[in-house]
Amino acid sequence: MDTLASAPKAKEPVETLSRVVIRFAGDSGDGMQLTGTQFTATAAAVGNDLATFPDYPAEIRAPAGTLPGVSGFQINFSSEDIFTPGDAPDVLVAMNPAALRANIKDLRPGGILVVNTDAFRETDLAKAGYAKNPLEDGSLSGFRLYQVEITRLTRAALKETGLPQRIQDRCKNFFALGMMYYLYHRSMDVSVRWIQHKFAKKPELVQANTLALKGGYAYCEAAEIFPVTYEVPPAHLLPGLYRNISGNQALALGLVAAAQKSGLPLFLGSYPITPASDILHELSQYKNFGVYTFQAEDEIAAIGAALGASFAGSIGLTTTSGPGMALKMEFIGLAIMVELPLVIVDIQRGGPSTGLPTKTEQADLLQAIFGRPSEAPCIVIAARSASDCFEAAYEAVRLSITHMTPVILLSDGSIANGAEPWRLPKIEELAPVDARFRTEREGFLPYARDPRTLARSWAVPGTPGLEHRIGGIEKSDGTGAISYEPANHEHMVRLRAEKVARVAQDIPPSQVDGDPDGLLVVGWGSTYGAITGAVRRARAEGLRVAHLHLRHLSPLPADVGPILARYGRILVPEMNMGQLAMILRARFLRETTSLNKIQGQPFKESEILEGIRASASGGGR
């Protein structure tokens, strides 16, 4: 982008780096999410590959200055392919002692640490639980510490505005952002434009924030506080048009795209729950796309209404997270029985029970596959990254309509909120999504099936001559008439299972990334980035290793068995206690090694690399 050419040159010696991880941390009132998003937008504009990870506090507004109130945003930007938001940050910007305390353990040894010393008064230290001032007790000697009076300097920069101090102080995040722009040779243009747009109606805020941003930049330039500055050149990304997108946004767009492609209205029944609510928020803005959003009284009503809408010919959709998922199971069972399309999106979070609502986990897999009474097979797929949520959501709608049965789509907190560049798909190249509506009354049988998929056709109310009844009692095939016949029941149970199993016949061959033998790392969902990065690093170290990442969890692709058979050892990293591993073991009777992390935090590449090294060298679990 041309504006970038104007990025001024720093006076300090410049080093070129291939990748940098910055974490902005402060009080939840300090605007760290915004700061991070701005740095991200600029990195994207520069052409870096990137990935981000926001880490919100569980409370809406925890008491200012306390540990629970700390909000963080991490960005990994690079001139090479990026797969995760990064392991240990190279830079930590800590706006107060609580932010320091909560994050310092992650900063890599020798990393850059920028602190706002104005926030290190005794009361601040006490709130963060520091007995002594860490800036003075030598405990930070392993880092490159920059003590900056960010508050005071911001006020100085904003003097001319005459704004109340409270408002001025709110701009200090832009001051910090300006400093980082300086340190990494970034142009401020993207952010300046954003500020102008955002506060178009409040010119005083445009002025204030711009001054703060430039103030931070100018301060570094003038005070020459950094002995070295850095450049991270653009990455060699696949050509195309890109935008930065979070998983929940991408998921919402994927749903809309599939609905548009099918020509059908999309009906979302949802009940708010972290971290799924944003999909409801997104979709409720797309009413002109024929999107109906119904905030129901609870999760049961939400899915019930979605199923009702499906019956009436819309694409029924419901979105939730673990606790809400539990409440939907009875209705999913009904949807399986009545054989209507229905998409259920589960943005997994830390559990069990209320658990860690704002943290991530991928432990709802077995619930998704088995969590219903009796034999109630369901299609289950998972998204593997923020941008992949688009494709995964699209696929969920497509499968549900094609196979006339519910599809559960699993995502999780880390990719739902995390953002990454998304190479925009070509609209024309999106797969067709075709509903088979029945209108012909001659020979109509509600449960007549497509011989290949076993899907029944969709006979919606309002179609003359197709009046029929559906329900959850066991039925005869074809007519759908209630049947308590023993043999019929077995027939229907097997038929419903077979219908789901046949989805596998349309799954394209699995991609295996890496060596053709040796150790196979099998993953699903949001571990994709960390595994990809780790496998590449392991191979660079000379280990024989490959990566298989599953989109389809139920049914599994037909080629999983043959692929597993090629590898001597199987490593399954999961943010749970080994759920996919259990499925693979049961199905293929293969020994697997599980690498589990259940900390409400995504895997780091290094953790997986560690696991690969241990496994590859024959180490056990």
């Binding site: 796309f289 009503a301 019930g304 199923l307 809408a309 819309s314």
Partner: protein
């Protein structure tokens, strides 16, 4: 099927009806099958939704589109159906357990939202399908399989619950009182918004006689108070009794004649003040005759219509969604 030529028979499905012989549900089925062809709605536009219970088997016997869903959740399904296709005439058949026990929340939210759906609550004051446990409308002290020493909880008054939840159409009728039931069903069909119809229904197997005073021809005229819009509250076999206010908010039964005339009585108004409808709801035997007919019939924003209107408005304002603009909108950058 063109609406004009429909007959009762067109609404009978080919399924054998499987209620117990003598069950009040048969009578309700017959009345509904009589009323539907008279509504001027094509058969394919009827959808009957239900939960689980004896009452909830209703859809199987109606030759319309039907959805026998899960226990208590018919209002949710019906809401989805109606929003997805506003041309449909959506009816719920539900029991006192299905609607007021497990499904209580959905039903009150349906009424709050005023979704254009008609709710027929078959109140037999018992769980029929599960073979006779007490229900939230069973009288206190009820001995059933699950309460061998008598129930200890007070019942709901379904009409009070409906009014308390903001229902715009509230009515009551009796299973075997066909002429009356058809009238009420017809009024419900013509109401725009949620129509709540409590139907006294006899379960002759597990709670026989629960509504005897209101079902038996010889008794009912003395025990029912017919609510007729604009008419004074008169009742009794020979229309010789009435209801007047003895003090603010307090109704009393009076005999007509001997100084009391119809002009002293309360006059029914389906759009009357809410506390009036609520007063009617409190009238219970033996002190009072039980009001039947339409308690209340008022207009209010209709959820499904408003939801569709909003979609239409936004679409009119923003133009029909352009997928390309949506995806490619926002901050983008090109990599070559």
């Amino acid at each position: 099927m063109s609406a004009g030529t429909l007959t009762k028979k067109d609404f009978a499905s080919d399924q054998e009806v499987r209620w117990c012989p003598g069950c009040g549900d048969y009578a309700i089925l017959s009345s509904v099958q009589s009323v539907f062809p008279e509504l001027g709605i094509p058969r394919e536009n009827f959808v009957v939704v239900s939960g689980i219970g004896c009452a909830a088997r209703f859809p199987y016997y109606m030759n319309t589109f039907g959805f026998h869903s899960i226990h208590g959740r018919a209002p949710a399904v019906a809401t989805g159906v109606k929003v997805a296709n506003p041309d449909l005439s959506v009816w719920i058949a539900t029991g006192d357990g299905d609607a007021l026990s497990i499904g209580g929340n959905h039903i009150i939210h349906l009424m709050r939202r005023n979704v254009d759906v008609k709710v027929m609550l078959f109140n037999n004051r018992i769980y029929g399908l599960t073979k006779g446990q007490y229900s939230p409308t069973s009288e206190i002290g009820k001995r059933t399989k699950s309460t061998p020493f008598g129930s200890v909880d007070r019942p709901f008054n379904p009409i009070s619950v409906a009014i308390g939840s903001g229902a715009t159409f509230v009515s009551r009728s009796v299973d075997v009182y066909a002429a009356h039931l058809k009238e009420v069903l017809t009024a419900a069909a013509h109401h725009r918004g949620t129509a709540f119809i409590e139907i006294f229904q006899n379960c002759n197997i597990f709670n026989d006689g629960a509504w005897e005073p209101y079902r038996e021809k010889e008794l009912r005229d003395d025990n029912l108070l017919h609510l007729r819009h604009g008419q004074p509250l008169v009742f009794g076999k020979s229309a010789d009794k009435g209801i007047r206010l003895k003090g603010p908010f307090e109704p009393e039964v009076v005999a007509l004649g001997s100084g009391v005339s119809e002009s002293d009585l309360l006059v029914h108004d389906v759009r009357g003040p809410l506390p009036y409808a609520f007063m009617l709801a409190q009238m219970e035997a033996p002190a009072f005759p039980v009001p039947v007919g339409v308690y209340r019939d008022v207009e209010a924003p209709i959820f499904d219509a408003a939801m569709r209107d909003q979609v239409a408005e936004v679409t009119a304002k923003k133009g029909p969604g352009d997928l390309r603009a949506l995806l490619y909108g926002g901050e983008t950058w090109e990599v070559r």
